[in-house]
């Protein structure tokens, strides 16, 4: 039931059959499949981001003895769709004194980098766009790209709060990239492969999952990853109570929506990556592989949301201290231990 395994491949081979029968060159097939994949990813990201925004609002509401959106549809399920339509229809304001090029490009950079990660996330058995042999390296490289966009937004806005937000995000993301990568290295060391599919394939049974074999690595990863995507307790680049809205202070309408989408897309990304790396990816009994993937990913997302609505925000200097003085040594220790015992 609902098995979607290898659906990408099936579609591709079906198209290939059609194209060879009609005698259309290979180039057009590649172009078409690229566009199709792009459309699928965009559609998936939009739906998942819309759902996550709604989910976040409901989770936070129920943690705070509220209901959250209730008026639009069953438990307000249409709320974020309506919000998105509102944001699209709003006037596209570019303030007078901003650096126009940088200001306009910044949200696109952030959004595109959030999008590109989805090329090599295995959503299920065979459900991966492209199983790059450097998959995890690619993901780490692309996610870091976000910081360029945030810095551009902070600088281009010509606003002091934005600038502070941009600087904070640059410092933070660059710092947390190091323990993040080191924590992933432990997994790579055990799998002896950078391919996402290979990493999942090496954790068939529950006791093979890297959360069991690499508990320190998992903790370091999840902490650093939360910092990477700027969520509480590490949400200092957009700390509402300190920096108004950080780098996105001057943004409104669709440009703001792109930042917002990217934020929730990145949240899904880090949860998906932690599922893949540490929680056995698509492996699980009875249910189809993609369903297991989503169950695990949404559990991680729920935990991250739980953090957000419980913890206070850490201060910027403490954030740096935490990364360099605590997480980094811990990640190194984990790597050394892995190297010794593996």
């Amino acid at each position: 039931m609902f098995e979607l395994d290898n659906v990408f491949k099936a579609v591709y081979f079906w198209l290939e059959g059609l194209f060879t029968r009609w005698g259309i060159p290979q180039f057009w097939l590649d172009l078409l499949s690229m566009l199709l994949i792009f459309a699928v990813i965009i559609a998936f990201i939009s739906v998942s981001a819309l759902f996550l925004v709604w989910w976040e609002r409901k989770v936070s509401a129920h943690m705070q003895v509220r209901f959250g959106p209730m008026r639009t549809g069953w438990h307000g399920w249409r709320q974020t769709i309506i919000d998105a339509i509102k944001l699209i229809m709003k006037e596209d304001i570019v303030p007078a004194k901003v650096d126009k090029v940088v200001f306009v490009i910044a949200p696109i950079v952030v959004f595109v980098s959030a999008l590109m990660v989805y090329v090599c996330i295995p959503f299920g058995r065979g459900l991966i766009v492209k199983d790059l042999n450097i998959g995890i390296l690619y993901i780490l490289a692309i996610t870091t790209f976000t910081v360029v966009g945030l810095l551009m937004a902070g600088w281009g806005s010509n606003n002091k709060w934005s600038l502070l937000g941009g600087l904070r995000s640059a410092a933070q993301i660059v710092s947390y990239e190091v323990p993040l990568t080191l924590s992933v290295l432990g997994v790579v060391l055990l799998t002896q492969s950078l391919s996402m599919v290979e990493i999942v394939k090496s954790q068939v049974h529950f006791w093979d999952w890297y959360i069991i074999r690499q508990p320190i690595g998992f903790l370091v990863y999840i902490t650093a990853a939360i910092a990477e995507v700027n969520r509480t307790p590490f949400d200092i680049p957009e700390a509402e109570q300190e920096l108004v809205a950080g780098y996105s202070t001057e943004y409104s309408g669709m440009k703001f929506a792109m930042f917002f989408f990217a934020e929730f897309t990145n949240l899904f990304t880090i949860s998906a990556v932690s599922t893949t790396l540490f929680l056995g990816g698509w492996h699980g009994p009875w249910l189809p592989s993609w369903m297991w993937f989503f169950i695990k990913t949404f559990s991680v997302i729920l935990v991250i949301m739980w953090f957000r609505w419980t913890y206070p925000r850490i201060r910027v200097d403490q954030l740096m201290g935490f990364a360099w003085k605590f997480l980094l040594p811990l990640a190194f220790l984990n790597l050394i231990l892995t190297g010794l015992f593996a």
């Binding site: 705070q64 206070p312 850490i314």
Partner: protein, 400 residues
């Protein structure tokens, strides 16, 4: 003020950045404006700029009779309006030399202590929200709602209560008052423990508050700082104890104090004050004496309604009192109380007419705010937010 601000701006050097924080900023608690001189994120100079909520309340008081002033006092510290009522009324009663009956005194104490809890709940919610623990705000407001229900039961108003009147209360406590207060007394200790579970030992909370926004006891006293901030420095000074008013000498309660005078100590002091207030409320509720709820001073206090409806003299008295008010003797009077924020005092000059010649309020928030630059200079922007929250300012009271 403006020239002072300009002087500061003129002295900038090229390595620093001037940041305008407020009056529209999520965590300046209303319309406080701060001009911050930053080196990176470190605050070198901080200049508060106030006056954006100036409503001329003190001036307006000069144009109203003594009884008409009471609703204006609600609108200064609008999260603790009953304390404002009480401070003004005690001053007027001192001017008129009226003895308030014990029942009214007990209820005044009870309600002002509930006000203290309500005010501290607003503080703990907004303060935690400023530091990033966003759920606390909703929890605190959930509890505050119970207290506002009690105020509404008594006065018909949730915030602008004006329940205390010259000589006592506007009316007797209503039915169902005691059970509502008992319910609060039953649930609140657990709720306060819940807050403490969320924050007190939380590693991030400690990192954000311990050692932040320090002020020494000497500096605090020199600056006229009062209330929980002063007690957070270790000075055990509480007007309820040092100059008891409204029968506070009859109640048992402790005065919590801190040691270091940092944000965390102020937090602990206020949390403990909520517990002590509950103690006082319990004692007051158990000991409400029998008697009248208002001192029946002819010419000052309205005659009872039944008499007004049946007796022509009482009707005339009521009419004259409402239209003309009363004229206290010539004199000057100052009385202060321990409001949730600190020493709240009213200085009233009477020229013998039916309206006060001058009313000057000694607002705790205004004086406490003047210590802000001392607390935040050298800290980070994030500390500024934490310190503003810990001072617990209400701009309505600062700007008046």
């Amino acid at each position: 003020m403006k020239s002072q601000v300009r002087n500061r701006i003129e002295r900038i050097d090229a390595n620093t950045m001037i940041l305008n924080m407020g009056p529209q900023h999520p965590s300046t608690h209303g319309v406080l404006r701060l001009i911050l001189e930053l080196d990176g994120e470190t605050v070198i100079k901080a200049t508060p700029d106030i006056g954006f909520l100036h409503t001329g309340i003190e001036k307006a008081m000069e144009n109203k009779t003594y009884a008409q002033v009471i609703p204006l006092t609600d609108r200064m510290d609008y999260v603790a309006s009953l304390s404002n009522n009480l401070a003004y009324l005690l001053s007027v009663e001192k001017l008129l030399d009226i003895q308030v009956p014990p029942k009214a005194q007990f209820i005044r104490v009870l309600l002002t202590e509930l006000t203290r809890i309500a005010s501290h709940l607003v503080w703990v919610g907004t303060h935690a929200h400023d530091i990033g623990a966003m759920s606390m705000l909703l929890y605190a407001f959930r509890e505050r709602e119970k207290l506002l229900d009690i105020f509404e039961l008594c006065s018909g108003q949730r915030m602008m209560t004006s329940y205390f009147r010259i000589g006592g209360l506007a009316q007797d406590i209503p039915e169902g008052f005691e059970s509502k207060v008992r319910e609060v007394l039953g649930t609140f200790p657990d709720r306060i423990n819940d807050y403490e579970n969320l924050l007190t030992k939380n590693r991030i909370w400690l990192n954000r508050t311990v050692g932040v926004g320090k002020i020494s006891a000497e500096d605090a006293i020199d600056g006229g700082v009062s209330g929980p901030i002063l007690r957070g420095c270790g000075v055990s000074w509480d007007i309820r104890r040092s100059n008891p008013y409204s029968g506070y000498e009859k109640f048992e309660f402790d005065i919590p104090t801190g040691k270091d005078g940092d944000v965390y100590d102020r937090y602990l002091v206020r949390i403990e004050e909520m517990r002590q207030s509950l103690r006082i409320v319990g004692q007051a509720l158990d000991g409400i004496p029998e008697g009248d709820f208002v001192a029946r001073v002819p010419g000052v206090v309205l005659p009872p309604k039944e008499e007004v409806l049946s007796n022509i003299e009482a009707l005339i008295f009521q009419f004259k009192l409402v239209v003309e008010g009363f004229s206290p003797p010539v004199g000057e009077v100052y009385h202060s109380i321990e409001s949730p924020k600190g020493e709240l005092g009213y200085y009233i000059i009477s020229d013998g007419s039916n309206k006060p010649c001058r009313v000057r309020v000694r607002p705790p928030c205004f004086v406490n705010l003047s210590a802000l630059p001392k607390m935040i200079e050298g800290g980070l922007i994030a500390d500024v937010v934490a310190v503003i929250g810990s001072i617990d300012i209400v701009l309505g009271e600062i700007d008046r």
